[in-house]
Symmetry: C2
Subunit: 114 residues, 2 copies
């Protein structure tokens, strides 16, 4: 993972509204959530929500698909897992046996089958 990619992802998450959106999507699972439902549950104005969704999307942390008149957003689990692995990469240089391996972290959440 490129450091610039990691920095954009972290910057996108470093804001309360966006972090809440992202966590809601992580918890929603692969089916995702319609923009309207996110707006309702977080009490954010539609235009403001769109702005934040775009930020997360640009950072590669979420994806979107049209479903009828709804737009369903989903967490990009692979991107998240890659970020987690990047943060802990080469942890302790292996000095502590209990640390998770990069492989274990890249499948931390909803791993996509190869």
């Amino acid at each position: 993972m490129e450091i610039k990619t990691a920095v954009s992802a972290l910057a996108a998450l470093a804001q309360e509204t966006r972090l809440s959106i992202f966590r809601a999507l992580v918890q929603a699972g692969p089916d995702g959530l319609a923009a309207g439902r996110i707006a309702d549950s977080l009490s954010v104005a539609p235009a403001t929500l769109s702005f934040h969704l775009k930020e997360l999307s640009h950072a590669g942390l979420i994806g979107a698909r049209q479903d009828g008149r709804y737009v369903l957003y989903t967490a990009n689990y692979e991107a998240m897992n890659t970020l987690l692995a990047y943060l802990t990469e080469n942890c302790c240089r292996g000095a502590t046996a209990d640390c998770l391996t990069p492989a274990e972290l890249t499948t931390a959440c909803c791993p996509t089958p190869p």
Copy 2:
């Protein structure tokens, strides 16, 4: 974990120099690294490095201890693990069996024995 805590941690990491510093400390392990060694390896001016170390420290991501005329900085593994667990909390609401549990993530790297 409080969302504001998570946001400060993410904001602290959302900068190239600081992310590099933090990753270097994660890899250095519990012994840590002297400020000077970090400055050398990243080619950052001392004052600038101090500024960034303080940011990371305020966010609770690193700690420091004096060692002779050196100051040794260490990653706060517990804070990092807590952050990872917060991001993935309640992932998929358990729909995917393979997801790591919060407990597994809070010991992702260099877990502190209870």
